[in-house]
């Protein structure tokens, strides 16, 4: 068979993405039709920049999801096909079996794996980890930033000092330290997970308690139920048989997070939360002077109710914008980690690792590194544009 021309490659790639296009069009049609009723999200569709950003982000989100469902991929991301090593884009398979896709659309990498499929699978890794890790970082930052801003004084001085300390430490060095086998063996990352992942539980518990404290009949069962489930999830998350933290027996352990991913998760949360802390603290300092906060105080509301129900909802504008930007940074951070071969396993299809693999033969074969690099670029660009669009729309009228 002849290799595909560039035109054919593009057509075939666009065809592979059919489910993504359908999903994207559906989302846009529904959103634009009902945009006046959708609040801030709806306003996004008034800004061209915001729409472009949203389209780019949703493109990768859908790609990740459908990729995980094996819809878009043409080959298995890990299997090698002989004779395809470093072949250029559009090369046909030497001996295509029945039901096997007959081309490597974006060529093969130095282990003869399909670059196109690895890009799709890599999107799933990013789409899974980056937003989740960022949200965790936000919960930590919010839980500490609100009291720092609200109470001020020594608590604020202490927490701000701590945040500055972490921010002053070189991030890459920190990662290297955290993933060094000796350090992993001491259990430090596990202990950090124990500490960092307790914050979301504290956050939710305080949120519910302050809201329903006046109605014990609703509060007590609600808290027991929610905390029970969250506690179980928490224990399953941190506990891993064989590691330093193994607190519950295996039959109760709902899932095991691979050690590498846990470390990546912990590091991302650890380095992102101080910045979130500072933003939340600043917003809390501003909003606590408003009359509605004084009104809540004069009717005897507790400090946590004021922080979580009076201050936090009104800080959401800047926080949502920052969330988008920060997911972008986290994506880059994941790329950097992968590039240095930290955390994720070496055969992982995530973009950072793939770029690092392709780097060695960059002068001869460009495509194995270029494809994930462009993916990373477009996704982060999309998140930044989305944040810009959101910011513009929150400032308008």
């Amino acid at each position: 068979m002849e290799p595909l021309s560039w035109f054919e490659i593009i057509t075939r790639v666009l065809w592979q993405f059919i489910p993504v296009w359908i999903a994207l069009i559906a989302v846009f049609v529904v959103s634009i039709r009902y945009k006046r009723r959708l609040g801030l999200y709806g306003k996004l569709f008034d800004s061209t920049i915001g729409m472009i950003g949203f389209a780019l982000v949703m493109f990768w989100v859908f790609t990740g999801i459908f990729g995980a469902m094996d819809l878009i991929v043409t080959h298995d991301a890990l299997s090698q096909v002989s004779g395809m090593k470093n072949e250029p884009p559009g090369t046909p398979l030497m001996r295509a079996e029945d039901g096997q896709y007959p081309y490597y659309l974006f060529g093969g990498d130095n282990l003869a794996r399909d670059v196109f499929s690895r890009m799709i699978k890599g999107a799933w890794v990013v789409v899974q980890i980056a937003p989740l890790a960022t949200i965790f970082a936000f919960m930590v930052g919010i839980t500490l930033g609100l009291p720092a801003g609200f109470y001020g004084g020594r608590l604020d001085t202490f927490l701000s000092f701590l945040a500055n300390l972490i921010l002053a430490f070189p991030v890459i060095l920190l990662f290297y330290l955290l993933v060094t086998p000796e350090i992993v063996a001491t259990g430090i990352p596990n202990y950090m997970a124990v500490v960092l992942f307790i914050f979301p539980i504290v956050f939710i518990a305080v949120l519910l308690n302050s809201r329903y404290r006046t109605q014990p009949r609703i509060r007590t069962p609600l808290l027991i139920g929610v905390l029970g489930i969250l506690g179980w999830l928490y224990l399953s998350l941190i506990s891993e048989s064989g590691s330093k933290v193994s607190v519950i027996p295996d039959f109760l352990d709902l899932f095991n997070v691979p050690g590498g991913i846990l470390v990546v998760f912990v590091s991302v949360v650890f380095v992102n939360s101080p910045t979130v802390f500072r933003i939340v603290r600043g917003l809390a300092l501003d909003i606590k002077t408003r009359d509605y906060v004084a009104a809540a105080q004069t009717r005897g509301e507790g400090a946590w109710y004021i922080m979580l129900w009076e201050i936090l909802p009104n800080a959401r504008g800047p926080l949502i914008v920052d969330l988008c930007l920060r997911i972008g940074y986290t994506t880059i951070l994941l790329g950097t980690l992968g590039f240095f071969g930290l955390g994720l396993p070496p055969e992982s299809p995530d973009w950072g690792t793939t770029i690092n693999d392709g780097r060695r033969l960059l002068q001869i074969y460009l495509h194995p590194a270029l494809v994930p690099a462009l993916s990373l670029l477009s996704m982060v660009l999309g998140l930044n544009l989305l944040a810009d669009g959101l910011r513009e729309e929150t400032l308008r009228d």
Partner: protein, 694 residues
């Protein structure tokens, strides 16, 4: 420019300005005409959103991206501003037309010394040398009566007080000796006594330099004091214009009349002659009614005539340049007395509910915030020996300017802070050292507060109904969600809001409506004492009357004790039973409303009374202008707190005022004054406000 020009300085002819937004075009100003003659001051009055600032920006041709002049012309000294290029406009702005904005701090560059900012003006517009510019700056700063001009020129804006900043802004506007000065609410951000001195200054300088002025304000009293002519705006249109005396005494438009009836003039009384709020709401720019914009709210509305066609401006015959936009102005009997008003009986004060005894609140300010109290600490005396009683269903007004300690007092009463010394007795129980976390739910529900800023008083991300229900939850009212919901709807009825508002978000409500929700929330737990912290000062005049009346009505029904904090003496005189005047943490005068508003006065009360602008041509005021600014509470003067600004100080022998804090003197019938003046001198005081016989 032609200096020999002697026609009108500014001539606006049927100006229309629209803003173009994503959804629709919004006409902000329609068919607006006004003429400013040389040396004349024209007042532009109206409620917020009526387009008065848009007119000013239109004159400066500074409407932003969305605003466009869609019709009419603006002529400055006979030249059409609309036909000028950007370059020509730039040479006019700042040198021929100068503008003074509301917020002085926002008009000064915080990173540049005051002198440099002033010198820029002649250097840019006239190419003056640095030396000339400096000399001119010094001269102008002297003209605006700032002490120590050399030091001021060398200061940064944040080192000056608000009043001084506004004087600098005025100085800057005068640097180039403009022919026209546009003042957009120049004193709204200032305290009353400071406002009075700034207004005085503007008037004097206007005369001295022969500058014409366009004075934009929502305060009718201020316009009366400063302007020769007035133009009343409503919903984008000029509805009436004429000379001050014509419009104030012989108004010919129903809106002007309604406006005057809704402000508390000296004759008004909450029981015998209550204020009349204008019914209905200000129309949104895209929902204006056909025909007369004021039609739906007008008492004299005639269907089929007032809503048929656009109504033109018509000259009132026999008066100088007096015109009105009303079809029926010749048919209406403008002097018909206000009938049909419900008169209410004065409610008698009951038992003492709240008693303050020698309350003191000091703050310690550490010099070094990081390492606690090791450094020098300064004591700020926010409240000093505060004593008074408040009875059931009584309105006690607390009057004073910013920094006088009234907010601190409210905080201590609410339990957000604890007192340093003294007692607060609520039903004979001491609550001065119980902070709000330790108070019983009933105590908290009993003492509630209504806040000043309507745009800040409700949580913007929570529904209106939800916020009231939350207050009910906290106060332990109602056993189920359903019961609380029912009670919430009743509270909405109480403050005269439609029940549908329960589902709305605060941003969908107008300022007055938000304030009503705030009142409903304060009364959720059947509060017995309500502290109202300037509840209407941020609202428009016509809404003020409605909210004030609502508060009075609820108070009458529920026998609430109302502590009404305000700096506006007109409204205080209208609604309060007793008045307490505060200055720098001290109570300087306490008595019934009649006692405080009549001599003998405390010298500060006297100045305060003189400073408040009153929108009534019959009122004659003695002119007392206080020098300087309010001293900082961090560094109060020795002896009597008011001695630095007091005009009676020289009458007290032997520098007593500078050495000792005067004792609280008991005058007749419980009237108290904190002053060293002898009885004879106090008795000699003349009334500040006198109403000329009709």
């Amino acid at each position: 420019m032609t200096d020999s020009y002697d026609g009108p300085i500014l001539e606006i002819e049927s100006l229309s300005i629209s803003f173009f937004t994503r959804l629709r075009d919004i006409p902000a100003v329609m068919d607006f005409s006004v003429k400013v003659m040389p040396g004349e001051a024209v007042g532009l009055v109206g409620e917020s959103g009526c387009g008065k600032s848009t007119v000013a920006l239109g004159v400066m041709r500074d409407l932003g991206k969305n605003g466009h002049i869609v019709g009419g012309s603006i002529k400055f000294k006979g030249q059409d501003l609309g036909a000028m290029s950007q370059d020509q406009l730039r040479s006019i702005r700042g040198s021929e037309i100068a503008m003074i904005y509301q917020e002085p701090m926002a008009s000064l560059n915080p990173a540049m010394k005051v002198g440099k900012q002033l010198m820029e003006v002649p250097m840019i517009h006239r190419g003056s040398s640095e030396k000339e510019a400096h000399a001119r700056a010094l001269q102008v700063v002297k003209d605006v009566k700032l002490p120590d001009p050399k030091r001021i020129l060398d200061a940064y804006p944040h080192q000056l007080s608000g009043g001084q900043q506004q004087r600098i802004v005025i100085a800057m506007a005068l640097m180039a000796e403009p022919s026209l000065l546009i003042l957009d609410e120049p004193t709204t951000a200032l305290d009353v006594t400071v406002e009075a001195s700034v207004v005085d200054l503007v008037k004097e300088l206007g005369k001295k330099y022969g500058t014409s002025m366009l004075f934009i304000s929502h305060n009718l009293g201020l316009v009366l004091e400063t302007c020769d002519r007035i133009c009343v705006m409503y919903s984008g249109e000029a509805v009436e214009r004429g000379s001050i005396t014509d419009v104030f005494d012989e108004m010919k438009h129903p809106y002007t009349q309604a406006l005057f009836r809704s402000i508390p003039l000296p004759g008004a009384d909450k029981n015998a002659r209550p204020l009349r709020a204008i019914p209905g709401n200000f129309p949104l720019p895209h929902e204006r009614p056909p025909g007369c914009n004021f039609g739906p709210r007008c008492d004299y509305f005639e269907a089929g005539r007032c809503d048929a066609t656009e109504i033109p401006m018509t000259d009132v015959p026999g008066q100088d340049r007096h015109a009105t936009r009303c079809l029926r102005f010749q048919e209406i009997d403008w002097h018909a007395p206000l009938g049909t008003d419900v008169q209410t009986t004065r409610s008698e004060p009951g038992d003492v509910v709240l008693k303050m005894d020698n309350l003191k609140k000091y703050y310690e300010v550490a010099a070094n915030a990081l390492f606690g109290k090791r450094g020098d600490t300064k004591v700020v005396k926010a409240n000093e020996t505060l004593s008074f009683e408040a009875r059931e269903s009584e309105t006690l007004a607390i009057v004073g300017e910013s920094g006088c300690g009234k907010s601190t007092f409210a905080k201590v009463l609410m339990g957000l802070e604890t007192a340093t010394d003294g007692q607060i007795l609520l039903d004979n129980r001491n609550i001065e050292s119980t902070s709000i976390q330790d108070r019983a739910t009933q105590t908290i529900a009993d003492v509630q507060m209504v806040f000043q800023n309507p745009f800040d008083t409700l949580n913007p991300s929570m529904g209106v109904g939800r916020q009231i229900i939350r207050a009910l939850e906290v106060f332990g009212i109602g056993n189920s969600e359903g019961e609380r919901r029912q009670r919430m709807l009743e509270l909405l009825d109480l403050v005269k809001l439609p029940r549908e508002f329960a589902e709305r978000m605060p941003r969908q409500l107008s300022g007055g409506q938000k304030q009503r929700v705030g009142i409903a929330r304060a009364f959720a737990g059947n509060a017995r004492i309500v502290v109202a912290d300037e509840p209407v000062s941020a609202l428009d005049v016509s809404v003020q009357a409605a909210v004030t009346d609502l508060l009075m009505e609820i108070q009458r029904e529920q026998k609430t004790t109302l502590l009404f904090i305000s700096h506006d003496l007109s409204i205080v005189r209208y609604l309060s039973d007793r008045v307490l005047v505060m200055y720098l943490g001290h109570v300087v005068e306490l008595g019934t409303t009649e006692q405080v508003f009549a001599p003998p006065y405390h010298p500060y009360t006297e100045a305060l009374l003189s400073a408040v602008p009153i929108a009534d041509t019959r009122v004659q005021k003695r002119h007392i202008v206080l020098e300087g600014d309010i001293p900082s509470a961090m560094d109060p003067p020795s002896g009597c707190p008011f001695q630095t600004r007091c005009r009676w100080k020289s009458r007290v022998p032997g520098h007593l005022c500078e050495q000792e804090v005067p004792p609280m003197r008991q005058m007749e019938n419980g009237h108290q004054i904190k002053c060293h003046l002898s009885d004879r001198e106090l008795a000699e005081m003349e009334p500040v406000i006198q109403i000329a016989a009709e």
